[in-house]
């Protein structure tokens, strides 16, 4: 057992394994001091460092070298040192930078949450609510794209893409033959399939789950319902391709969609295959484990009344 490193984030101390990133150390502590992450995904090797939402200030490098780091660092890619002190929400510099990053991300991402399929599960929606400005200062035309069908099950709407690269990592690491990636440079970059090829692989549906915004959506569920009107239920089945552990999203007695189970950071616990995702939409296909755990604050838990609702009567 190697010696643990002590790290202090916003005044809260923790001991973590050497090699842990600041972000994961913060996640071990939990609560408000966990930096947001739009591109980092713990299940995808090499992800992170691109969106810059997780920037933090290292006010003390380590016990050996207590000098502060000169610039803000990406917490998802910076490993802890023993005695490191980090400022996240206690640093005005970090909050200002994060506000700037949100503004940059929203330049080419429409704020049409009411009609977006990702509404209620969108990390950018949460991020902009917590760290964004009240209004945009950007007055120029946004870039727009036609929707692209990637195969018969997935639709890409580049208007919403924030180029986090997560779907590219999924295709690289979970499928046999990646046929999509980033083309173009700068703000002309876009996700595209190679010469109109479709992503055709048993695990291709996972690109939907990792997309933090509404760019890649499930065509079998698209616009069938709002997420907060559905009821998430954990279930499993014996699958020879994947773990078979999923969340079923019910509307009444019907399963509207199947997704992988996600943790409190919105990251899937284990990736699932397309058979489980698209072809098993009857309750009889599954062994029901019980209601899925949803954070109380999440909009997904809205309209799920556990007890009797008592109407409020104005007695004035």
């Amino acid at each position: 057992m190697s010696e643990k490193f002590k790290i202090t984030i916003d005044g809260v101390s923790a001991e973590v394994e050497p090699g842990t990133t600041i972000l994961n150390a913060a996640r071990q502590i939990g609560g408000d001091l966990v930096p947001p992450a739009m591109c980092y995904y713990s299940k995808l090797e090499g992800s992170g460092g691109k969106c810059r939402t997780c920037l933090v200030k290292v006010s003390k490098g380590s016990e050996k070298d207590p000098r502060p780091m000169p610039k803000l660092v990406a917490s998802c890619r910076t490993t802890v040192m023993d005695g490191m002190e980090v400022q996240n929400i206690t640093s005005p510099e970090v909050l200002e930078a994060r506000k700037g990053v949100v503004e940059f991300l929203l330049i080419n991402h429409p704020l049409d949450c009411p009609v977006c399929d990702q509404a209620g599960e969108c990390k950018l929606q949460d991020l902009s609510y917590e760290h964004g400005a009240e209004a945009t200062r950007y007055e120029f035309n946004r870039r727009t794209f036609e929707r692209i069908d990637i195969g018969d099950k997935i639709q890409l709407h580049m208007n919403r893409c924030i180029l986090c690269y997560r779907c590219v990592y999924v295709a690289n690491q979970l499928t046999d033959n990646r046929v999509h990636g980033i083309v173009g440079r700068g703000d002309m970059s876009e996700i595209s399939t190679y010469v109109e090829k479709a992503i055709d692989n048993d695990f291709s549906g996972n690109v939907i789950d990792v997309c933090p915004v509404g760019a890649l959506t499930d065509k079998t569920f698209r616009f069938k319902n709002r997420v907060w009107f559905t009821r998430p239920v954990s279930a499993h089945r014996d699958c020879d391709k994947c773990c078979g552990k999923v969340t079923l999203w019910y509307k009444g007695e019907d399963v509207l969609r199947v997704t992988a189970r996600k943790d409190e950071y919105g990251e899937v616990e284990e990736f699932i295959c397309n058979t489980c995702r698209y072809d098993k939409k009857k309750t009889s296909d599954w062994v029901i484990d019980g209601p899925a755990q949803i954070q109380r604050q999440s909009v997904i838990s809205a309209n799920h009344y556990d007890g009797k609702v008592v109407p409020v009567i104005d007695k004035r």
Binding site: K50, C51, A97, F104, N108, Y138, I182, G186, D187
Partner: protein
């Protein structure tokens, strides 16, 4: 005339051929290093010389080399960064095309010091003529036994390859260069790990500029102490400056570090003064990515001392009143130059060249370009100026690689020093299209030396 190290063979007919270069004393440094010195001794001489990276960052070369990890059984690589493409900088291509063997000699000496048996020269793809010249020179060196197996019978092996780049500015950033060299899209890597630990194909790698590597031969032949005698303080040796803009004699000059900026601009040996007898308004001293300075601040520091062509003197005052040596791309602007248009032009370049990996650079460079375009074409608002300052500040320091800083610094510095000109563009949109804003406050406070020759 100062000491000439990199341009010592300038004007020698046929210096691009092996025979002429050898007759001029070429490859003597290879003989000396490989036959009479250990790699550690070569490294020690480079350290003693105080040579600093000539690509822009100015990091001590010997120190950079000493960081190279040396795990057992893992190859090490030297990569020459010849992806020169910053606006205003055009020194390396001249050095490579006119005297390719000086770079090859430097590559052999440097590779020997680093223990590299394979090295690369990564050249910007558009410079196809340079690639052909280098390949011809490398073939000659192989033929004469200066490359390949058992060089000069010393037992040292080195293979040298020329790798054409795809023509993206970002590939001049060392980790993007390595990605591109490996055949991938030229996106910068997130550091750490640094190339000295994990570079080309995950092996320890040093990436150095053309000018830096070419200077090592002279250092080995004459000794690091001799090199350190040239220049001032920690700015030792000579530097190639590519001078352009509104000057009488644009070109590439080898200067001894420590030369006063005023002498560089006005003496006949170098730029020969401002063209057309006009007054100097502003200077970008180290390529388009460094802060622009008005004439009064480029000629003298805020303390009133003459500004010198050294890393320290140019940076004196920080970004408030100073700038950087950068790559040595010296762009002079006369009293008629439009700072707003110039800043827009630079930003247009960085917007085009952003790789798009990280959000502040991808979205911010385009935003700045659009706002500057609006101001330049007479549709700006007064609030746009503060908006630009704020957007530049939100890009600076928050990106994966220094391209974000490179895009932000010209904008921030232009508004810092020439705010009135930006305001004038907003207040007088029609007038600003017809004439340039030449406030006396910005212009050269010195009388313009007019001679019969000029």
């Amino acid at each position: 005339m100062g000491v000439k190290i990199l341009t010592q063979h300038s004007g020698v007919p046929g210096i691009d051929t092996f025979e002429v270069y050898r007759k001029q004393g070429g490859y003597a440094a290879v003989e000396k290093a490989l036959k009479s010195m250990s790699p550690e001794e070569v490294l020690e001489e480079v350290k003693k010389s105080g040579l600093r990276g000539r690509g822009g960052a100015g990091f001590p070369t010997g120190l950079k080399w000493s960081f190279l990890a040396k795990p057992e059984g893992v190859p090490r690589y030297l990569v020459c960064n010849a992806d020169e493409s910053e606006p205003g900088t055009f020194k390396d291509r001249e050095l490579m095309s006119r005297n390719p063997h000086s770079l090859i000699e430097g590559m052999i000496v440097s590779s020997y010091a680093l223990g590299a048996n394979t090295s690369y020269i990564y050249v910007r793809g558009e410079l196809f003529y340079v690639i052909r010249i280098l390949e011809k020179a490398i073939a000659e060196a192989y033929e004469k036994g200066l490359l390949g197996k058992n060089i000069l019978g010393t037992g040292y092996d080195l293979d040298l390859y020329v790798q054409p780049g795809g023509g993206a500015y970002i590939c001049g950033e060392e980790t993007a260069l390595i990605e591109s060299l490996e055949g991938k899209r030229g996106n910068p890597r997130i550091k750490p790990p640094f190339p000295a630990v994990s570079g080309v194909w995950g092996c320890p790698t040093v990436v150095n500029n053309v000018e830096t590597i070419a200077a090592t031969s002279w250092i080995i032949l004459n000794g690091g102490d001799e090199y350190a005698k040239i220049g001032i303080g920690r700015s030792t040796g000579t530097k190639l400056i590519s001078a352009c803009g509104n000057i009488n004699q644009p070109g590439i000059y080898e200067i001894e570090l420590g030369l006063p900026v005023e002498e560089f601009i006005y003496s006949d040996e170098y730029c020969g003064g401002i063209a057309g007898g006009k007054r100097l308004k502003a200077v970008v001293a180290g390529g388009s990515s460094v802060p622009v300075l008005p004439a009064n601040l480029i000629l003298k520091t805020i303390a009133g001392e003459p500004r010198l062509m050294t890393y320290e003197s140019l940076a004196d005052g920080g970004f408030a009143t100073g700038t950087m040596m950068g790559s040595g791309g010296f762009i002079a602007m006369d009293e008629d130059a439009c700072i707003v248009r110039n800043t827009w032009n630079f930003t247009r370049f960085y917007h085009h060249e952003s790789c798009g990996q990280c959000s502040p650079c991808r979205e911010g460079t385009g935003w700045m370009e659009k706002v500057l375009h609006r101001i330049e074409y007479g549709h700006g608002k007064m609030s746009d100026i503060d908006l630009l300052v704020d957007v530049a500040a939100k890009i600076e320091g928050n990106t994966i690689c220094p391209l974000g800083d490179a895009a932000a610094w010209p904008v921030g510095s232009a508004i810092r020093h020439f705010r009135e000109e930006f305001e004038w563009h907003v207040k007088e949109p029609r007038l600003s299209q017809q004439q340039n804003y030449g406030l006396a406050a910005y212009a050269d406070p010195l009388p313009v030396p007019v001679t019969e020759e000029s």
